[in-house]
């Protein structure tokens, strides 16, 4: 139990570690700001690892993602997709930010629902787990 909670070596290593994390954070934010994100074309809904629906982002629509007793209510309005209601216990999907850009997503883990924005034209099965 004689271990030190802080030594000079620890302090030096911690400074390096925090530096790396800060660098990663700044790099990530720069990348998010500067990387060209095209507006998405399609809303792809996946449940339980399988594609459930594919809707154009340009048209206003509402979709009830139903899996037995489990529901998530998806609303597409003015090129933005959001989940307004859900039967999941934590409601994380309802609180997540609205999505409209390519690659953005909303995830509901309890109901195993994943809503992503994709290009549209070249929307093959890229990245979808089989």
């Amino acid at each position: 139990m004689a271990e030190k909670i802080k030594t000079a070596k620890h302090r030096r290593n911690e400074v390096i570690l925090i530096g790396i994390v800060l660098l990663a954070a700044v790099g990530y934010m720069l990348w998010r700001q500067l990387a060209p994100t095209e507006p998405g074309g399609e809303v792809v809904v996946q449940t339980d690892g399988k594609e459930y629906a594919r809707l154009p982002l340009s048209e206003n629509a509402e979709l009830d993602i139903a899996q037995g007793e489990r529901h998530n209510h998806l609303v597409i309005k003015d090129g933005v997709a959001t989940v307004t209601e859900a039967t999941c216990p934590d409601k994380q999907c309802v609180h997540q930010a609205d999505i409209s850009r390519n690659g953005e997503m909303i995830v509901c883990l309890p109901n195993q629902v994943l809503i992503t924005i994709e290009h549209g034209e070249d929307a093959e099965l890229d990245g979808t787990a089989k």
Binding site: N13, H95, M105, V107, T116, G127, A129
Partner: protein, 165 residues
């Protein structure tokens, strides 16, 4: 042994209350799922530095199971378990390797807590795209882990004086 049982009880209760307080903080407003302060981890880190590793492990495990079944549901219990176990193992290894002090150990623990939960998320939705959340979660875990580590350091210093260990 008797003293240990009492300490187990106090620390589990404390971690339990911290977890409850955490459910009151509306972190989901940030829009990224899974970001938490990790207050309960404060207890685990303090236990790790004032008791045996095994004791800290038991406290962590009991805390996660109790909290999962009282404030959460089966899903949050599984996420908590995977995040908690991975972060615990990594913290023990880092501490053994003696690379970092308490702040660095807690920082790494915070990062790996989120990595563990993200791994479960990938398995649950069966889509690796969920890794989209990795960068913000990593940064959040590092920040909260550092804060927890600094506070844990203050507590451990005082506890060691008090308990003469």
């Amino acid at each position: 042994m008797k003293a240990n049982v009492a300490r187990y009880g106090v620390l589990v209760a404390l971690a339990f209350i911290f977890s409850y307080i955490e459910t009151l903080i509306p972190f989901e407003m940030i829009g990224i799922p899974g970001i938490k302060l990790g207050l309960a981890n404060l207890v685990v880190v303090v236990a790790m530095y004032t008791m045996r590793t095994w004791d800290a492990f038991i406290i962590s495990l009991v805390r996660i199971l109790l909290v999962g079944f009282t404030f959460g549901n089966l899903y949050s219990a599984v996420y908590g378990l995977c995040g908690g176990l991975l972060s615990f193992v990594v913290m023990v290894l880092i501490k053994k390797a003696d690379w970092f002090g308490i702040v660095g150990v807690s920082l790494t623990g915070g990062i790996f807590h989120n990595i563990g939960q993200l791994i479960v998320a990938v398995l649950v939705v069966e889509n690796v795209k969920v890794a989209y959340y990795f960068p913000p979660l990593l940064i959040a875990g590092a920040i909260t882990g550092t804060v927890i580590g600094i506070v844990a350091g203050m507590i451990v210093r005082r506890l060691k004086k008090l308990l003469q260990i």
